[in-house]
């Protein structure tokens, strides 16, 4: 691996013998990478448990059009998530979650543009792109708040029956859409991801604040934008997986 390092190595000494950075990254960036790896383990634990529990439940085997909510099988996600704000009563499967995905991808692009501006020491451009990234994050969180509210309160009409009783919406004990585990995993997985988005927005605001006050300009580099950018992209990455495994499959 010595050939991959840019550092000059005296013969007979390996890059791991000290004095160089074998991974070619600063301490802070490296630690962010390993933190993200450990965070990926946590999200994987949630998604793997979801996979285990979902595959142990009976799947719905019938036409998608004839699908009704039942406690006996796992629901088809596109029939659960088909509501869009201001279009009450219309069945628009996965449209809203598609909008949320688009918002998060766009905010990832504006983040990487802020990183690019930071490499050029362009303070005004970093400020501009950080503002867009923060707005994207807030927009995503607002969408999620609406989705959770709709999921918890349920439909306005139509009976949903749990063992002979009518139940609307969802909580951790029972829900109108399917087995209790379905809503539990929805709350835990999207909730844990949403909390990451929230903390990401806070970090992004901190970066924006330090950029505006000239902290990074005085420091001579914008590496903090890169580090927090890594975290923000990771949040987007997790959403890609949540989108596939919770909404599409």
């Amino acid at each position: 691996m010595a050939s991959t390092s840019t550092a000059t190595v005296t013969p007979g000494r390996s890059v791991w013998d000290g004095g160089t950075s074998p991974m070619g990254a600063s301490y802070g960036k490296l630690m962010m990478w390993f933190f993200l790896l450990s965070d990926a383990f946590t999200f994987s634990a949630l998604l793997i448990t979801y996979g285990l529990v979902r595959s142990s439940h009976q799947a719905y085997k019938g036409a998608v059009d004839a699908f009704t909510f039942s406690q006996t099988y796992w629901p088809i996600p596109e029939r659960v998530f088909e509501a869009v704000p201001f279009l009450e009563g219309m069945a628009l499967p996965l449209v809203f979650v598609g909008i949320m995905t688009f918002i998060l991808i766009m905010s990832s692009v504006t983040m990487v543009l802020a990183v690019e501006a930071g490499h050029r020491m362009d303070r005004a451009a970093v400020e501009k792109w950080m503002i867009w990234t923060i707005l994207g994050g807030i927009a995503f969180l607002s969408c999620q708040a609406w989705e959770w509210t709709h999921f918890i309160h349920g439909a306005h009409h139509g009976a949903a029956v749990t063992e002979g009783t009518t139940f609307f919406g969802a909580n951790l004990l029972q829900n109108q859409y399917g087995p209790p585990d379905f809503a539990d995993f929805f709350f835990f997985i999207t909730g844990f991801h949403g909390f990451h988005v929230f903390s990401g927005v806070c970090f992004n605001f901190l970066i924006y604040y330090n950029t505006v006050t000239g902290v990074y300009e005085r420091r001579g580099h914008y590496e903090m934008v890169e580090k927090v950018g890594l975290y923000w992209h990771f949040v987007d990455l997790v959403w890609v997986f949540v989108f596939t495994f919770f909404y599409l499959v």
Binding site: S44, I76, R123
Partner: protein
């Protein structure tokens, strides 16, 4: 005086047009792949083949985000594999536990 000194030393480089164009291209790919996923979600019948396509497209999207946006493709090989090898084990763990779940469902 100190403030004037700070600002005068900063040289702002012009935007790297090539790099910015590449970033927008990656964003376009991500958008197109998501659009394809939507089309497949409503045109194909449910089954393991459909799931396979979704997982494959998700891995392509993840590759673009981690490789280009997070810049991992351009890092040293040691760092690249330090991140990727644990993830390969995680992917296997997911497959193993999904099969385990099917077995639990079968004996229930």
């Amino acid at each position: 005086m100190a403030h004037a000194e700070e600002t005068s030393h900063v040289t702002v480089l012009p935007p790297n047009k090539e790099k910015i164009k590449k970033l927008w291209t990656v964003a376009l790919y991500l958008g197109i792949i998501t659009a394809i996923e939507f089309v497949i979600a409503f045109t194909m019948s449910h089954g393991s083949f459909k799931t396979f396509i979704f997982v494959a497209l998700t891995i392509v999207k993840a590759g673009y985000i981690v490789g280009e946006f997070m810049h991992l493709r351009y890092e040293t090989k040691v760092l690249f594999w330090s991140i990727l090898i644990p993830i390969i084990f995680i992917a296997w763990m997911l497959v193993a536990f999904v099969y385990e779940g099917m077995a639990i469902g079968a004996v229930r």
